[in-house]
C-alpha cells in the first residue's frame, strides 16, 4: 500500500511537469512578457523604458529557459521558467502582477471557499442519495417516470439561472437572507445558507438520475433477487442490500472531487460576494493577472491528481477484492 502511494506520487511528477510546461507555453511563449507589459500598461505608444521597468519590477526581465550570461547554477535558475514556473513545485507562488503575495492570499481566502464548498458537497450527496432511493423504491411506476422527466428538466437549466432565480426570489423578494456579502466567523452562516441551498438544488437533476441508475443496477443483481425470493421484505432489501452496495460506486466516484473543493466555485462565490478562492481566480481572470491564474492552474492540477490517488485508495478500502499493485 505504502509503496503504491509512493509510486503514484512519483507518477504525478511528470504530469505536473507537463502542466507546468503547458501553462508556461500559454503564458510566456505565446504571450511574451513584452506583450503582457504593453497590454497591462494599456497605452499603444509606450516607451521601451516603461516596458522594461514593468518587466523588471515583476521579474519578467530574464531569458525564458537558459540564461547564457550566468555561469553554472544561474544558467538555469536565473530564468523566467525556473523562477516563475518551477518554483510552483515548492508551493512558492510569488507575487501577483498587482504586487500582493499570492501564497498569503490563498491561505486567507481558502476558508470561505471551504465553508461554502464542504456543506454543499455533503448535503448535495445526501439529498441526491435520498431522492434516488425514493425513486428506486417506486421503480417502473408513474412516479419513476415523472421523477426522471423532472430530473432531465432540472439538469437542462444552466447553473446561472438557479443562482439568479434563488437570489431574486429568496433574498430580494422575500428578504429571508442577505443578497450577498460575507462575515468571518460564525456570522457567516447567514450568508452561506442561500448559496449552499442553490448549489444543492442545482445538482439534484444530474445527481439523482445518476444515482438512480447505480441503485437500479444493484437492484437487478442476483443476490437481491435471491433475497426477495426467500421472502425478505422490500424495505429491508432496499436498505440492507441495495443501499450499502449501491453506495460503493457513488462514494468512490465522488472522492476525486474532494481535494478540488478547496478551489471554490467561480460562479457561486462571485454572485454572492464570498471572498474565497473562486472569486479570487475570477477577479484575476478579469484583471488579466496571469501570475494568479498560473498559480491557481497549478494548484488545481495538484489537487486533481491528489483526488485520483485518493480514489484508488478508496477502492481498496471499500472492496477487499481490489488490490493495488
Amino acid at each position: 500500500m505504502f509503496a503504491y502511494i509512493v509510486r503514484r506520487a512519483l507518477y504525478a511528477i511528470p504530469i505536473l511537469i507537463g502542466v507546468n510546461i503547458l501553462t508556461f507555453a500559454l503564458f510566456f511563449m505565446v504571450n511574451t512578457p513584452d506583450q503582457m507589459a504593453r497590454v497591462q500598461l494599456g497605452d499603444k505608444h509606450i516607451s521601451e523604458e516603461a516596458v522594461e521597468q514593468w518587466k523588471q519590477q515583476r521579474g519578467y526581465d530574464k531569458p525564458l529557459f537558459l540564461n547564457t550570461e550566468e555561469n553554472s547554477q544561474g544558467l538555469i535558475t536565473d530564468t523566467i521558467f525556473y523562477q516563475k514556473s518551477f518554483s510552483l513545485f515548492l508551493m512558492e507562488f510569488g507575487r501577483s502582477d498587482a504586487g500582493r503575495m499570492i501564497g498569503a492570499d490563498i491561505q486567507q481566502r481558502m476558508w470561505p471557499s471551504l465553508a461554502l464548498a464542504i456543506p454543499t458537497f455533503i448535503i448535495g450527496i445526501a439529498v441526491n442519495i435520498v431522492f434516488a432511493l425514493f425513486v428506486v423504491m417506486f421503480r417502473a411506476t408513474a412516479i419513476d417516470t415523472a421523477a426522471l422527466i423532472l430530473c432531465v428538466a432540472l439538469l437542462s437549466i444552466s447553473a446561472i439561472f438557479y443562482i439568479l432565480g434563488g437570489q431574486y426570489f429568496i433574498a430580494k423578494l422575500w428578504h429571508w437572507v442577505p443578497i450577498s456579502g460575507y462575515l468571518p466567523g460564525f456570522e457567516a452562516w447567514r450568508f452561506l445558507i442561500l448559496p449552499v441551498a442553490i448549489g444543492v438544488v442545482s445538482g439534484i437533476g444530474g445527481g439523482t438520475r445518476l444515482y438512480r441508475t447505480l441503485f437500479l443496477e444493484e437492484a437487478n443483481k442476483d443476490y437481491v433477487r435471491t433475497a426477495r425470493a426467500k421472502g425478505v421484505s422490500e424495505t429491508k432489501v432496499l436498505f440492507k442490500h441495495v443501499l450499502p452496495n449501491g453506495l460503493i460506486p457513488i462514494l468512490t466516484s465522488v472522492v476525486v472531487v474532494i481535494p478540488s473543493l478547496f478551489m471554490g466555485s467561480l460562479l457561486m462565490e462571485s454572485f454572492f460576494g464570498i471572498p474565497g478562492l473562486g472569486s479570487y481566480t475570477l477577479d484575476a481572470i478579469q484583471a488579466q493577472d496571469f501570475a494568479i491564474v498560473r498559480s491557481m492552474v497549478f494548484l488545481g492540477s495538484v489537487l486533481y491528481i491528489l483526488g485520483l490517488i485518493l480514489t484508488d485508495i478508496s477502492y481498496t478500502l471499500v472492496d477487499p477484492r481490489v488490490r493495488l499493485s
Partner: protein
C-alpha cells in the same frame, strides 16, 4: 436605376461557411449510418419513442433558424444623384431578418416591458404650452396603428387569432403533405409521427404568433439599448447551435485518433496518450479555457489591423472560442474510446484479421471503428448540450463570445444588474432562459434516446 431586394451583396463570414459544411457533413455521417442495417434498426429505436421524435423536431427547428441566420448580406444604400456605382451598408443582415420584416430597425431608446406602449423610465417632456413635466414617453414602434391605448387588449387578441390562423394553415400544409407522402410511399415501419406533427404544429404556431405580433409590439420588451429582446434572443440561436456543433465536432478527430491508436497499438503509444490526457484533464477546465481566451484577446489587441470590421473580429473570436472549447474537452471521449478499443481488439475476428495479414489501418477502419461508433455518437449528442450551457457561464466570466454578438450568455450577463433594478427588468433573462431551456432539454432528451438505443449496456431494461 431602381434597387430591388436582389441587388444585395452577399457576405460570407467564416462561421457561415463552417456551419453549412458542418450540417452537410453531419448529414453525410448520418446517411452513412443509415445505410448500415444494424444502425438503421437502432435509429428506428430512437425515433420509435414519441419523446425522441419530438426532441428531434425541436432540434431541427433550431438548426433551421441557425442556418437561415447564417445567410448574410449587405443591403445597398439608396443611390444619390449623379452616382454610378452602388454602395453597400456597413451593417450585415441575414435571411432571418427578411422573415422578421424589419424588426431590427424598430429600436427604442431603452428598456420597455413586453407589450408595453411606453418606455420603462420617465423622461423630461414638454406639453403644448412648453411646460416641462416628467412622464413615460410613448414608444416609437409599438402600437402605432392604435388610435387610443385602450384598444390594445382587443387588438392583441385579434392579431393573435389572425397569426395563429396563419400558423395553423402553414402547419396544415406541411403535415398534410407529409401524410399524403406516407399514404403513397407506405413505409414498412410505424413511427410515432403524431408526436412530430404535434411538435411541429406547436412550433409553427408559436413562431407565427411571435413574428406576427412583433410587427406591432415588442412582444418580449426591449433591452437597455432599445433592441427588441425577442429578436435578440432569436439571433442568439445561431450562436448557441454553432458553438454546440462546432466545438463538439472539433473534439472528435483528436479523441478518435488518439483514443483508438492508444487502445489498438498499446505500448508506448498508449503511455504517451494516457500521459497527454491525464495532464490536460488535471488542469481545471474553466481556467484553461479562460487562459486561452485571454491570450486570443491579447492577440486581437496587438493586431488591430487584421480586424477592422467589428463583425470580423467577433467572428474570429467566436471561432477561436469554439476551437479552444474543442481542444480542452476531448479527454473524456478519448478515455472511453481507448477502453472500448482495448476490448474490441481482443475479439476473435480482429485476431483472425491479424492472422490473415490484414493491415493495421484496414483493421481499424473495417473492424474497430464500426464497433466504437456508438460511443462517438453518444458523446456527440451529450457534449452538444454541455457546450450550449458552457457558453452562458463563459460569457458571465467574461471569456465568452464577443459582447457585440447576440448570445444567451451575454443576455444573462446583463441580467445581474437588471434584476437588481427597481422595478425589476425580468424580460431579457426570461426569454434567454426559455429559448435556451427548450434547446438544451430537447438535446438532453434526444441524447437519452440515442444512448438507450445504441448503448448495449442500457438496452431494453
Amino acid at each position: 436605376m431602381s434597387i430591388s431586394i436582389l441587388d444585395v451583396k452577399p457576405v460570407f463570414l467564416f462561421s457561415d461557411i463552417l456551419i453549412y459544411i458542418l450540417v452537410a457533413s453531419l448529414g453525410l455521417f448520418f446517411y452513412q449510418l443509415m445505410r448500415n442495417p444494424l444502425s438503421r434498426a437502432r435509429w428506428r429505436g430512437v425515433f420509435q419513442s414519441a419523446a425522441g421524435m419530438a426532441a428531434f423536431v425541436v432540434i431541427c427547428f433550431y438548426v433551421l433558424v441557425a442556418l437561415l441566420d447564417s445567410i448574410h448580406y449587405r443591403e445597398p444604400l439608396p443611390i444619390l444623384e449623379n452616382q454610378t456605382e452602388v454602395h453597400y451598408s456597413q451593417e450585415i443582415r441575414s435571411a432571418l431578418d427578411l422573415i422578421f420584416v424589419g424588426v431590427h430597425k424598430r429600436s427604442e431608446k431603452t428598456y420597455s416591458s413586453p407589450f408595453s406602449l411606453q418606455l420603462f423610465t420617465k423622461e423630461n417632456m414638454q406639453d403644448e404650452n412648453d411646460n416641462l413635466y416628467r412622464d413615460y414617453p410613448m414608444l416609437k414602434h409599438a402600437g402605432q396603428h392604435l388610435s387610443s391605448p385602450a384598444e390594445q387588449g382587443q387588438d392583441v387578441v385579434n392579431k393573435s387569432l389572425l397569426a395563429l390562423l396563419v400558423g395553423l394553415l402553414i402547419s396544415a400544409v406541411f403535415v398534410g403533405s407529409h401524410m399524403l407522402w406516407r399514404k403513397i410511399k407506405k413505409p414498412t415501419t410505424e413511427l410515432p409521427w403524431w408526436s412530430a406533427y404535434l411538435t411541429a404544429t406547436v412550433l409553427v404556431l408559436a413562431g407565427s404568433w411571435a413574428i406576427g405580433l412583433s410587427q406591432y409590439y415588442h412582444i418580449a420588451g426591449t433591452n437597455i439599448v432599445g433592441v427588441d429582446v425577442f429578436y435578440q434572443s432569436i439571433k442568439a440561436i445561431r450562436t448557441g447551435v454553432l458553438i454546440g456543433t462546432l466545438a463538439t465536432l472539433l473534439t472528435l478527430p483528436i479523441a478518435i485518433v488518439l483514443g483508438i491508436s492508444a487502445g489498438y497499438f498499446r505500448g508506448w503509444v498508449d503511455d504517451a496518450v494516457q500521459y497527454i490526457y491525464t495532464t490536460l484533464s488535471s488542469i481545471p477546465g474553466i481556467l484553461l479555457i479562460a487562459a486561452s481566451v485571454l491570450l486570443i484577446d491579447v492577440y486581437i489587441e496587438l493586431h488591430p489591423e487584421s480586424f477592422s470590421l467589428g463583425a470580423v473580429r467577433a467572428d474570429f473570436k467566436f471561432l477561436a472560442l469554439c476551437f479552444i472549447l474543442g481542444m480542452t474537452s476531448w479527454t473524456g471521449l478519448c478515455r472511453l474510446l481507448r477502453a472500448e478499443t482495448l476490448k474490441v481488439s481482443q475479439l476473435d475476428y480482429v485476431q483472425a484479421a491479424h492472422a490473415f495479414g490484414v493491415s493495421n489501418l484496414r483493421v481499424i477502419f473495417k473492424h474497430i471503428l464500426p464497433n466504437v461508433t456508438h460511443i462517438i455518437l453518444i458523446a456527440m449528442v451529450l457534449d452538444f448540450s454541455v457546450f450550449v450551457l458552457a457558453e452562458a457561464v463563459l460569457s458571465y466570466i467574461g471569456v465568452g463570445v464577443d459582447p457585440s454578438m447576440a448570445s444567451w450568455g451575454n443576455m444573462i450577463n446583463e441580467a445581474r444588474s437588471e434584476l437588481s433594478r427597481d422595478p425589476v427588468v425580468w424580460w431579457p433573462v426570461l426569454s434567454a432562459f426559455v429559448l435556451m431551456f427548450v434547446l438544451v432539454l430537447a438535446a438532453n432528451v434526444f441524447s437519452d434516446r440515442v444512448r438507450d438505443a445504441f448503448d448495449p449496456r442500457f438496452g431494453k431494461g
